[in-house]
Point group: C2
Chain length 289, copies 2
């Protein structure tokens, strides 16, 4: 049931990307944009669609924000994979954009995907209310810029440059930016679209985002690169501090599970309607890719 | 008079950047963002402020959009200067971001400057009307993405890769994206802020943008790199088609001058209030940097 919903959301996001990108000129960078946005779990887009459903927002509106956050996430991956950043050759089981094309195409395709995210949330289709569209764009900018996701990436680079392993507090803060900020935006999008209170979804997202990152660190140690779809074991071999290196594997698993309970408890106000979001939290720590 | 107004606008944009960036953590990427946004003519920000004044928009509102377009322009320069793109060491008489820091910092600082542009136009300070803020963000995304500025950059790369010199029509189209789109947004911003008709300012911007690019091509041939603040003669030595290589220096100058007349004529509806914008058009072709 949950996996079917996740799959259906992924297909809906893909269909919207297909429609949107068909209006662009068929240049290499547009092919690269399509490549970068295909595949993946589409977890962020799913969170937008599910929290929108919870607030009775029509799927035809929510799909714009769901596609936007996947465009933004894809841009961050394309740039993060560049040789001057993490230098990764594989992503989602496919060659990364700079491997399939070149570095210049990866820089430009990433840039255009970020722009596309802001175009999608401010498109009249995203909401009949201009107040909502302006709020979506402002909150998305705050989540993804130098006080959100990019801050996390910059802290990550600073830590690598300094060769000083991070403390648990520092790594938590880093990850709140690097992965938590976009997951937080995704999970609050439904309430934003409905101009409703975002507090419960914000608490849910904070626990979910942290659990997601701990699970990612566990996968980096225990996962199989073919199944994960990208290189594994990179953090350990680089001597980077992770939740696993700091807590140990068992304690990291226990912490992830208690965060899932916390995430589910935050949804109490929504009752049984939020069951899919609770399944999402469980999926996030049990996933194998 | 005109040069004083231009200078005052540059100082106002700088002050706004200082205020906005002071709220960010003092990390290397934030220093790089400040470096990338300092100096320059601030022509795009000036166009926003001047067209806003023409439509009786308060300077305290227009400054948000003026700073936004300068952030977006700065992001495009930081990424354009990267070794995998144009590989430039100097910009505005200063080392480029990847020379002063490194490639990773340049990628992230550019990314965060793009995000900042969307944060600034959707900030409540940019306009009391959410309709206007959403419209500013949507039009900015359309001007800067893979159907605007990035399209121009991609066409430029495609032309270099193909080693086929472009025709006058092709180079005009490329430049309408690469420089014309942002100049167009800047010059129409005042009308957008006032929810007024943008047609006259659009015609002005189209002529101005093309004249600007022809002047840039002329400077690349006749300019002095110390005065221009970046390398010159690069296009000619790379065998790239430019307005000068296609038209010859004299005809390029004549074309630029007739475009300036066209730009000024477009402003007839505004009467003497648009004199500064007419001076701007003349400045654009007479500038030495």
């Amino acid at each position: 049931m949950f996996s079917q919903r996740l799959e259906a959301a992924g297909a809906a996001v893909q269909a919207h990307f297909d429609k949107v990108l068909a209006e662009f000129e068929p240049l290499p960078i547009v092919e690269a944009m399509a490549h970068a946005t295909s595949g993946g779990k589409r977890l962020r887009g799913f969170l937008v669609l599910e929290t929108a459903r919870l607030h009775d927002i029509a799927a035809g509106e929510a799909i714009w924000s769901a596609t936007a956050i996947e465009a933004l996430h894809a841009y961050s991956l394309v740039h993060d994979d560049l040789p001057c950043m993490d230098d990764d050759d594989m992503r989602r089981g496919q060659p990364t954009v700079h491997k399939k094309w070149d570095d210049a195409t990866a820089v430009l395709a990433g840039d255009a995907l970020q722009t596309l995210a802001f175009e999608l949330v401010t498109h009249p289709g995203a909401s009949p209310s201009a107040e909502v569209r302006a709020d979506l764009a402002l909150s998305l900018a705050r989540a993804s810029g130098a006080q959100g996701m990019v801050l996390g990436q910059a802290l990550d680079i600073a830590a690598e440059t300094a060769h000083t392993p991070l403390s648990l507090d520092e790594i938590t803060r880093l990850q709140q930016g690097k992965t938590g900020a976009l997951i937080g935006w995704s999970a609050q999008a439904g309430a934003r679209l409905a101009q409703a209170d975002t507090a419960a979804l914000k608490r849910y997202a904070q626990a979910l985002g942290l659990a997601f990152q701990i699970a990612d660190d566990i996968l980096d140690v225990t996962g199989d690169s073919a199944q994960v779809g990208k290189a594994v074991g990179k953090d350990a071999s680089a001597g980077k501090a992770t939740f696993v290196s700091l807590l140990g594997l068992d304690a990291a698993r226990t912490r992830a599970m208690s965060l899932i309970d916390e995430a589910c408890d935050s949804l109490a106000t929504y009752g049984a309607r939020a069951d899919t979001l609770k399944d999402t939290a469980r999926f996030v720590v049990r996933r194998t890719h």
